[in-house]
């Protein structure tokens, strides 16, 4: 599945309330941007809606950087 990295970055910035430029490809949302558990669910929901996929609760940690989200989508 082809992933639109900039769309994902903009979605994450919108949810966190930060600038797009604050989110590098390998910035960890939880450790570096203090994203909480609710915001992680929102980020995953945005990805699920855009790409019509289902992310398991046990896989949330695979979606905590832009790079990891893109990789996860490309593997699908």
């Amino acid at each position: 599945m082809k992933a639109d990295k900039e769309f994902i970055r903009e979605s994450v910035a919108d949810i966190i309330g930060c600038e797009v430029s604050d989110i590098k490809d390998d910035t960890n949302f939880v450790k570096e941007l203090e994203v909480n558990s609710i915001q992680m669910l929102e980020i995953v929901a945005a990805v699920e809606d855009e790409y019509d996929i289902e992310v398991k609760a046990s896989d949330l940690s695979k979606y905590d950087t832009i790079d990891k989200i893109v990789s996860a989508l490309e593997e699908m």
Binding site: I38, L41, E54, V55, A57
Partner: protein
């Protein structure tokens, strides 16, 4: 000292409207579920395949006279509560409750379906049902119970997510203990359907509901991935001060001997780390009593079950010292605001029959006295726990009634 006993149990759920029937079917591990209708407009967005349907409460004609007005004017959640209250009164052998009987009904969401329909009608056609306010306000649920029972004590709705109806029973228990009244009709109701099953999708975003293709759920198991949703259900109980019940020759199912209620004050979804607030609540509730049976919140979610299992292990110790543990949600679905009262009814029947119903499960978590198959055993003391979103925790202790 005043004592409080359960004398009437009125469930309305997919497994029936008679608590003995519901308990028997739970012991047979019956799961009533239907596939999500493929005509649902948003069907493709919802990953879940199955849910437990709202029971047909309108076509059996039972209590038709008493419910005639509610059938026309009440939202489904309110109608279900009113019907459950009438069933509980019948079960308690009561024609009429004391005039100052207290009514508290727990519930979860707003009357979503009705509210959405009226909002959309007003938005698109500038028309609405002229009685939309009494139709959709949550307090109407308690009002309808008082109207159909014709009683005038304090009445209210409690809104504490999945802990709503456990708390409603607990508050009524404390009010009877305090002498404010001798009887209460208490429990919970839930109806979350609408033409798109919007709430189902909402729970999916929260990673709470099972998307298993065959509708199985795996509480307290390594395979757990969420609960089976219920479209709606209700359960009301009649509880009474002991002397009041004895005086009228009531059948006593069990005695309520404790109530605990706390708030995590931590997160709007997740439980307090390690479940220590729940642990403190349960320790205070249980004291040094030996608990035979623990009806868990047991949602089969990653968020709940690991934490609840740890709390159980810390309080009771290793598997051989733990009470028998089960959860009624795999069969009833997660009935949210109605779940606690339904489960208190199950606890009372477990005590009456000395039986703990079996469960669905996969590979059960280590060191947990979980009950995969229905077990005949002495049940003198039971605890029913409900742990709701937003950190609402409550639990009720129920014991065999002894004179």
């Amino acid at each position: 000292m005043r004592r409080v006993v359960i004398t009437g149990i009125g469930p309305v759920c997919a497994l029936g409207s008679d608590h003995e029937e519901v308990f028997t079917r739970l012991c047979n591990k019956e799961q009533v579920k239907v596939r999500l209708d493929k005509c649902t407009p948003a069907r493709e967005k919802i990953k879940a395949e199955w849910y437990v349907p709202f029971p047909d409460l309108y076509s059996d004609g039972k209590y038709a006279d008493k419910l005639a007005q509610a059938e026309k004017e009440a939202a489904k959640s309110a109608y279900a509560a009113a019907k459950a209250a009438l069933i509980a009164m019948d079960d308690a052998g009561l024609e009429k409750a004391d005039d100052n009987t207290m009514v508290i009904v727990g519930t979860d969401s707003f009357s979503m379906e009705e509210l959405i329909e009226e909002t959309v009608k007003f938005d698109t056609k500038q028309k609405m049902y002229s009685m939309m306010i009494p139709y959709t306000i949550q307090s109407a649920i308690a009002s309808w119970v008082t109207i159909v029972l014709d009683i005038h004590g304090m009445s209210s709705v409690i809104n504490m997510a999945c802990a709503s109806s456990t708390t409603s029973v607990g508050i009524c228990y404390e009010n009877i203990l305090d002498g404010k009244c001798d009887m209460a009709v208490c429990g919970g109701t839930s109806y979350i359907g609408d033409r798109n099953m919007t709430m189902f999708k909402g729970f999916e975003y929260l990673k709470c509901s099972s998307t298993n293709k065959n509708g199985d759920v795996f509480p307290f198991s390594k395979e757990k991935n969420g609960f089976l949703l219920s479209e709606g259900a209700a359960c009301m109980l009649v509880i009474e001060e002991l002397e009041h019940a004895k005086k009228r020759g009531a059948k006593i199912y069990a005695e309520i001997t404790g109530f605990g209620c706390t708030s995590d004050a931590y997160n709007i979804v997740s439980m307090y780390p390690g479940g220590t607030i729940v642990e403190d609540m349960l320790r205070k509730l249980i004291g040094d009593k030996k608990v035979d049976y623990y009806n868990a919140h047991g949602t089969a979610t990653i968020l709940n079950d690991e934490v609840e299992a740890d709390v159980i292990r810390r309080i009771f110790g290793s598997r051989e010292n733990q009470p028998a543990i089960n959860t009624s949600k795999p069969f009833l679905g997660h009935t949210l605001g109605a779940s606690g009262a339904l489960e208190i009814g199950v606890c009372a029947d477990s005590i009456m029959h000395n039986r703990v119903h079996g469960n669905l499960c996969g590979t059960v978590l280590d060191d947990l006295n979980y009950v995969p198959e229905t077990r005949d055993m002495q049940v003198d003391t039971a605890v029913s726990a409900s742990l709701g979103f937003g950190g609402h925790n409550s639990a009720v202790m129920i014991e065999r009634y002894r004179d």
